[in-house]
Amino acid sequence: MSGKRQTAITVNGVTENHAVEPRMHLIDYLREECGLTGAHAGCEHGVCGACTVRVDGEIVRGCLTLAVATDGRRVDTIEGLSDTGEIADLQKAFHEHNALQCGFCTPGMLMAAQDLVREMPNAGRDEIREYISGNYCRCTGYQAIVDAIETVLKARKEKSGASPALKVVK
């Protein structure tokens, strides 16, 4: 009864068809079935945030999500967001601020950061810290991450608030 089940999940815009055991969580599915190793299993009990991915547009813990439960749904990972350019500005800011060291938390951190930038365009430093407080980073001490996100928030606001005339200049 606990045999494999056929699933069709749209991962980064591509429909992936795999038969998986019901017990497989979404991160093992992405890594082992799809070969997408960007999302990481850091704790597998929902605390560290390294496995943060998007399901139907909302960030979730991949390790607390069953692959079979996402059958028929849309999953987006760091690889997808990188290829579409959706988070290019966040990635650039993280790079320039050195908001990553070992990089293991980074895919999850960027998923949370992009969610923050979309949800709270006016967030201040304390709100940024609170928003990413479910994503563990042992390396940076968080400040560079906060700096990078703050930079992007400002830039996106300026971009969205800029007049058409100004946009033409560049």
């Binding site: 009864m1 606990s2 093992d28 009990h45 909302e58 979730v60 607390l64 949370a112 407080s133 994503n135």
Partner: protein
């Protein structure tokens, strides 16, 4: 840390859920967001034969936030994040609106559900204390139909509720905040989003500095959320003052008997519950 093998079903209707529950009995567990269940499965602390995934059920009895002005109901399958974003909840059940941001982190609140949290009945969780403070009603559903249980009777013991075999949480019903009433939710957690050492859900009427119909429910102090009836009695009909607060704090000795957790002794929890009580009452009185 891989979950043990189990079967999985995603029923399309409540009737199918009841069939599955009948068929599998104790072997079945409901997956209603899974933000606690999945962690316990990965740790092999739980080995169900089958998970019944109800998160995509499209049953009106279990979904949506609805209000008729007097009563607001929250479906079991409503996600924490929806409650957080709900204008009617903010307006009519402000206590709950204050509590939601303390529930773990956003990625968890995007998946975890109201009903899952209520049914799991973690004594350190936010919703159960709010439900008890607000004297909310929990609506349960089984093949036999719906059954309403006051939240104050629903939580029985540690992780034990009034839920019977074949029954699931359908929704919670809250009386919309009445004029003159205020709510305050406070908790002390060492890190944002952690289970609190202790927390208080407070609600009541404040008119001309006089407190009435105050309810105080505590989380993290025992096996279930605890309603502080003695402290509440002390406050009833009295004008807010530091002396009154002191009397209520002293009365908590008769209401709470907290057990130690990993980092805090019962005495520390008692002390912190008193501190929070003082702060919550001040906030109620000052309308903060």
């Amino acid at each position: 840390m891989k979950a043990p093998a189990f079967d999985y079903a995603r029923p399309a209707s409540l009737a199918e859920v009841f069939d599955l529950l009948d068929r599998h009995g104790d072997e079945a567990k409901l997956l209603a967001g899974g933000q606690t269940l999945m962690a316990t499965l990965n740790m092999r602390l739980s080995q169900p034969g089958i998970l019944i995934d109800i998160t995509t059920l499209n049953e009106p009895a279990l979904t949506g936030i609805r209000s008729d002005g007097a009563t607001l109901s929250i479906g079991a399958l409503v996600k924490h994040r929806e409650i957080e974003r709900s204008a009617p909840v903010a307006e009519q059940v402000p206590l709950l609106a204050q509590a939601v941001p303390h529930v773990a982190h956003i990625a968890i609140r995007n998946a975890g559900t109201f009903g899952g949290s209520v049914a799991f009945a973690d004594p350190a969780a936010e919703y159960p204390a709010c439900l008890v403070a607000l004297d909310a009603t929990i609506v349960l559903v089984s093949r036999a139909g719906e059954r309403k249980v006051p939240a104050r009777d629903f939580f029985k013991a540690l992780y034990e509720t009034d839920l019977q075999p074949g029954e699931l949480v359908a929704r919670g019903e809250f009386v919309a905040q009445k004029p003159g009433y205020r709510s305050v939710f406070m908790e002390l957690a060492r890190r944002h989003g952690d289970y609190a050492i202790v927390g208080v859900a407070a609600n009541g009427k404040v008119a001309g500095g006089v407190l009435s119909d105050i309810s105080l429910a505590y989380l993290g102090v025992g096996g279930i959320p605890v309603l502080a009836r003695q402290a509440m009695a002390v406050l009833e009909g009295q004008a807010y003052s530091t002396e009154l607060v002191g009397a209520a704090q002293r009365a908590l000795a008769n209401d709470l008997d907290p057990a130690a957790d990993l980092y805090s002794s019962g005495a520390t929890k008692m002390h912190l519950a008193r501190v929070l009580t003082g702060r919550a009452l001040a906030a109620l009185a000052e309308g903060a």
